[in-house]
């Protein structure tokens, strides 16, 4: 019998598993996809220092694979969870078949799903190929050259639109917390690659707390434009296929039409898709937002032996995910020694 089941092989789950490996605790780490890494897989470098996301994943993977106590199951889905401490249960669907697991502790590290802006027709998402999500931009920035989807050319102008699927009664009311920081980080990267490209950020409030404020300051110094507005519409310009962003600059009250090549939707975080079902089967609560409820925060839940780490408990930056991964590992290790 393994002592701890870690659900999710994103950065939080990897951090938790690596911590448990160091403590010599037996772990099964379940990851739905073929490769671990979760949302970090789509990122090049990360904000707040610019460390490569791949490096963050690899460091933890090295610790895990070097350990004899961690068993990673990729391509594996959790079919059901249940039981109570000290006999928590899980039914797993592995590529080899169904597998029943019993454990003393479960760490829910299911992460978040990036918001899908398909319903935002007024931003021409899905209609114009140069309107993309920040996830797609991050993926483009991993490559050598940043090009427009429409014609394969480098953009002369690019705009970020903030708070897509965040801070809206229409979609999700909470602030996803990391979008401002990744947008500033990506804006700087675009500027570095293409110094002549005009880069602008349409924001409502820039939220770059603590050291991230320095990156925001750098961005302003390097000529990235910050305009306080949530645009009303993005549409194609018929004559040249570029984009027109229609917005009110709320600081001077003027209606403006910005011509640009690419519009990047800074999408926020959505709860993991099966959070509600998982929570119910384990007897823990979810927040109104749909994320797992930590009681008391961080990492603890109503059910003994069940912990939550990272963005599964609400949107977080990588640093907070790492802290929670470690915290959950420590708590699970204590549980296993009881």
């Amino acid at each position: 019998m393994s002592s701890v089941l870690v659900v999710g092989g994103g950065i939080s789950g990897l951090q938790a598993a690596a911590g448990l490996a160091r403590a010599g605790v037996g772990v099964i780490l379940v990851e739905r996809e073929e490769r671990p890494g979760g949302n970090l897989k789509s990122l090049g470098t990360t904000f707040g220092g610019g460390r490569p996301a791949a490096e963050l994943i690899q460091q933890r993977m090295r610790a895990i694979t070097a350990s004899a106590t961690v068993n990673i199951l990729t391509g594996t889905e959790v079919v059901s969870l249940g039981g109570v401490y000290p006999r928590l249960q899980a039914s797993l669907k592995t590529p080899e078949g169904t597998r029943e697991v019993e454990c003393r502790s479960i760490i829910l590290a299911t992460g978040f799903t990036p918001f899908n802006p398909a319903a935002m027709k007024h931003y021409a998402f899905g209609k114009h190929p140069d309107v993309i999500t920040a996830v797609e931009l991050a993926d483009k920035l991993k490559g050598d050259r940043l090009r427009r989807n429409s014609n394969g050319e480098e953009p002369d102008a690019l705009v970020f639109i903030q708070c897509i699927g965040s801070r809206e009664l229409r979609t999700h009311t909470y602030c996803s917390a990391f979008c401002c920081m990744y947008a500033v980080h990506c804006a700087l990267q675009v500027k570095e690659r293409l110094p002549r490209c005009r880069v602008e950020v349409l924001y409502m409030d820039i939220r770059t707390p603590f050291c991230a404020e320095l990156e925001y300051e750098t961005a302003r110094r390097k000529g990235i434009g910050f305009i306080r507005s949530k645009p009303a519409a993005v549409r194609a310009k018929r004559e040249n296929g570029r984009l027109i962003v229609q917005y009110e600059d709320t600081l001077d009250g003027a209606l403006r039409f910005m011509e640009t090549d690419m519009a990047v939707l800074s999408v926020g975080a959505e709860p993991p898709r099966d959070a509600a079902a998982m929570a119910e089967s384990l007897g823990i609560a979810t927040e109104e937002s749909g994320f797992f409820a930590c009681e008391p925060a961080p990492v603890f839940t109503r059910a003994k032996g069940v912990f939550v780490a990272g963005a599964a408990g609400g949107p977080k930056d990588i640093r907070a995910c790492l802290a929670e991964g470690t915290a959950a590992a420590a708590q699970a290790a204590i549980i296993c020694k009881e």
């Binding site: 009664l169 009303a232 917005y247």
Partner: protein
């Protein structure tokens, strides 16, 4: 003027405090494109601050196209706030003279414009009866009961 105490009767669901002044409303407003003095976001702000000028003729420029209503991320219903402001302004007799003139005409003949001789001739050519020059007593009673005449 501070409309907030009176707002509920006109505006219904109180979402006013949800506005974070993002400008989505004004950015998509067809009136603002031609008449920048009509700025929905600024009107909402002034109502939130309790400083709306009810005599401002720009309050009456809204075409009720519902763009702001549809797009507002916070479901503030800016259009309904503008309507609430015009309703309260009207009740206090603060509507612009042009609006009042139109409504006086309505009270007089049931139409918002004069019956032109061209219209009279056309009706005659079509074999239609002439339009009534005066409105019924019922109409006047309704206008009095709803406060329609009071705002003039």
């Amino acid at each position: 003027m501070d409309l907030r105490p009176e707002l509920h009767a006109y505006y219904g669901t109180e979402n006013l405090h949800e506005c974070y002044q993002c400008g989505t409303c004004t950015g998509g407003c067809p009136v603002n494109r031609c008449l920048p003095e009509f700025n929905v976001r600024a009107i909402v702000k002034r109502i939130m601050d309790g400083e709306i000028d009810l005599a401002d003729p720009a309050l009456w420029y809204c075409t009720t196209c519902y763009n702001c209503y549809e797009r507002c991320p916070q479901k503030v219903k800016p259009l309904y706030l503008v309507q609430a402001a015009t309703n309260i302004a009207y009740a206090k007799g603060l509507a612009p003279e042009s609006i009042k003139d139109m409504n006086r005409m309505l009270l007089k003949c049931g139409r918002n414009s004069e019956i032109t001789s061209a219209a009279k001739n056309q009706r005659q050519a079509f074999g239609l009866p002439p339009l009534k020059e005066n409105v019924s007593e019922d109409y006047k009673r309704i206008a009095a009961l709803t406060g329609f005449s009071k705002g003039l």
